[in-house]
């Protein structure tokens, strides 16, 4: 057993201090390298920004000086491309970026995928998807066969969804990894409509996270062709799916008939009643007032609040709420109507 003696502790302290001293030197050297990297990157950014603009926006001829010669220049190009892709929606620009990346950046990311460091591989996968480097699909498939983390596999799914949607559906089916709803949404929004619709065909075979994400994505895509799919889900046995389908229909905002929604006014779940109160925003008040008045007297605060808001948003809504305040005996509903009127007037 180690004896706790002064020489032993002195040795331990000495060794630890030496290690820390060497680590300090390493950090200082590393810092110097980072500064030099940033200088090269910023110089390239400064010198080439105008040329990139001319090439991408003004259709000028591509200049060979734009081709990166070292890693810092690749970092500068990543910044330039990212800023164009985030701020400009232009197919021609996207195509040029894709073409350039497939030609000149591919080799850097291919090499990064073989890195021992997880973060470097992840960064490479991010860039392959963002810059649409389709030429690396085969490399990615091979990479997927190695032992990789869940995060890396998710990025691969994203890449498949972009370059080979069929493969994406296949991979997502065979995968044992369960991602969060938010992650599935991030992939589903990238899918073309026809591939996305196919997700609904096998709706009941998916895990709940995929089901929820598919409904939410249908809502955010605001495409009329998803309305029928969502309406079918209103009779689903899982209440959460009903709620999400109602929410999706509310967000798409096209309500052509109220009959499918009327039974939900008396639902046992306040979340469902709340969603109906919301959906009635998209229907003229004379069709829905009787139901909204019922919801205004609901036992749940959120339902009452939403019903009052929906009524108030209509042209005759304030008058209807005032009428209601005069005739009702429900103090909570009257309070809610009053607050909504005051708020509505305040906003004006």
């Amino acid at each position: 057993m180690i004896k706790l003696s002064i020489p032993f502790l002195l040795t331990v302290s000495g060794i630890l201090l030496t290690v820390l001293f060497l680590f300090t030197i390493y950090i200082l050297v590393q810092r110097k390298r980072e500064i030099r990297f940033a200088e090269v990157r910023d110089t390239f950014l400064q010198n080439s920004s105008q040329q990139w603009y001319n090439y991408l926006i003004n259709d000028e001829i591509f200049s060979i000086v734009l081709v990166p010669r070292e890693r810092a220049q690749v970092a500068a190009i990543e910044i330039i491309f990212s800023s164009y892709l985030k701020n400009i929606s232009n197919e021609k620009v996207e195509h040029k970026i894709k073409e350039f990346s497939n030609l000149y950046l591919k080799k850097y990311y291919e090499k990064d995928l073989t890195s021992k460091r997880w973060s470097i591989r992840m960064n490479a996968l991010y860039h392959i998807a963002d810059l649409q480097i389709e030429d690396l699909l085969e490399t990615c498939l091979q990479f997927g066969k190695t032992k990789i983390s869940e995060e890396e596999y998710f990025q691969l799914l994203k890449i498949y969804s972009l370059f080979q949607p069929e493969l994406f559906i296949e991979k997502i089916k065979e995968s044992n990894i369960h991602y969060s709803e938010s992650e599935y949404r991030r992939v589903f929004v990238l899918l073309e409509d026809d591939v996305f619709i196919r997700l609904f065909e096998d709706f009941n075979s998916w895990t709940t996270n995929i089901q929820f994400a598919a409904i939410d994505t249908a809502a955010v895509k605001r495409n009329i062709q998803y309305i029928d799919r969502l309406k079918q889900l209103l009779t689903h046995e899982v209440p959460e799916i009903q709620i999400r389908a109602l929410k999706g229909l509310y967000e798409i905002g096209v309500i052509d008939e109220i009959d499918p929604y009327v039974p939900f006014v008396t639902s046992d779940m306040w979340e469902i009643r709340l969603m109906v109160a919301k959906i009635f925003k998209h229907v003229p008040l004379n069709y829905t007032y009787a139901y909204l008045e019922q919801l205004l007297q609901d036992e749940n605060w959120w339902v009452r609040s939403q019903a009052a808001k929906t009524i108030a948003e209509n042209r005759d809504g304030i008058a209807k709420l005032q009428q209601f305040m005069e005739s009702s005996n429900d103090p909570y509903a009257i309070d809610m109507a009053r607050e909504t009127i005051v708020r509505k007037r305040g906003n004006k």
């Binding site: 002064i6 630890l16 820390l20 973060s119 938010s182 607050e339």
Partner: protein, 474 residues
Amino acid sequence: MKVFLDFCMWFFGGFILFYMLFVIVSYCAMFVIAMLVMRKRYKLDPSEYDDAHTDAFYSKPVSLLVPAYNEEIGVVDTVYSLLNLRYPQTEIIIINDGSTDSTLQTVIEHFRMKPVDKIVRTHIPTKQVKQIYESEIYKNCILVDKENGGKADALNVGINVSQYPYFCSIDGDSILDEKSLLRVMKPIVLSDGEVIAAGGNIRIANGAKMQLGSVTETHLSNNYLVIMQIIEYARAFLMGRIALSKYNLVLIISGAFSVFSKEWAVEAGGYSTNIIGEDMELVVNIHRLIRKKKEKKRIEFVPDPVCWTEAPQSLGVLRNQRRRWHQGLFESLWKHKTMTLNPKYGLIGMLSFPYFWLVECLGPLVELGGYIYIVVAFFLGEIYYEVAIILLLLFVIYGVIFSIASILFEAWILNTYPKPRELLRMILLAFTEIFWYRPLTLFWRCEGLLRFVLRRSDWGNMKRVGIGEKEKSV
């Protein structure tokens, strides 16, 4: 008499040595875990996640609660920092807890607050709300004026007024980085609600340059007391929070910047108003609730979200703060003492509570005893020299080496102080820690213990100079 003295010296010497070894081994283990966690993320580009989640479709709405009691100097900057946040859906709720200075007037004038009629649902009983205001400039900004009831009561009012499923508590003198909320929400969003509370990393803002609620440049303060606190924060961050979080053992997430699921916080009874450490109390109550409901939920500490806060610059204020913190810690641990070594509470009871009792709570008592032992041993003669020197060397490893390692590791991974000169200054100062800063804080923490035993709770407010202005007063 001499025999008794000899026995005491050997007994206490052995006890303190054993204790120090235990603490050093615990810290080493936590340091290694933190290194492995952080090293994985080294050089990872976070913008991919940030960019995707600035869209409301991928995130969850959050109510930002700013309790303010006599915060006329800092509150405007705090609100600006919240208005600058890169986050898709937030509401800002400033709660004026019966301030006696011009906090209320400052907020009303600065953000053009207008009184509104609003029905507040009482999830948690609180002191009376006098008036609610809404900003005419920023529609998502609300001011609640209420009777004085303390920070916990103000936060409970904020929870009652809030409309979103998550709330984030921010101290009235703190400044958030623009991406901090996005990143602290990351585990919550990615876990589909399995993570029900998350706390962010707190940094000291003294020395930073600020403009309209954003930290534009960071400099190391010239005040040695502030630098020592920076070192202390780095050490707490690496040798505690990250490792505890990995195994869902976190008992403290800083009240200065933390996010909670409203549903769980309300069910746990909200913030307790009759206790000093209300943030720890809420976390412990939520852990209890998780166990009671037998649900798979987690509380996490997130290493990068940054909340800038003002550190005390004078010994008097620092003493008050440390005394209060320690008294709060002891009070919470004592209140929930039945959880200690109770298998019903899983690792929280078997590991977390004993760790907080032994290392965080009673540690100062033993360590201070160690300092006293060293002094006494040198007076008593040569047979105790060896134990005293061994103890001193353990203090060096514990105080100096761990501090330097934390500074270097944080500099490497998070690049907090990019100037080599600042880094070297911190390292040099860390060598002096065990001679002045450590004994002082130990003494104050022991005072906190004593005050708990004597049931004293007349702790004062920290006198603030405002983050943006503070360097002028150094």
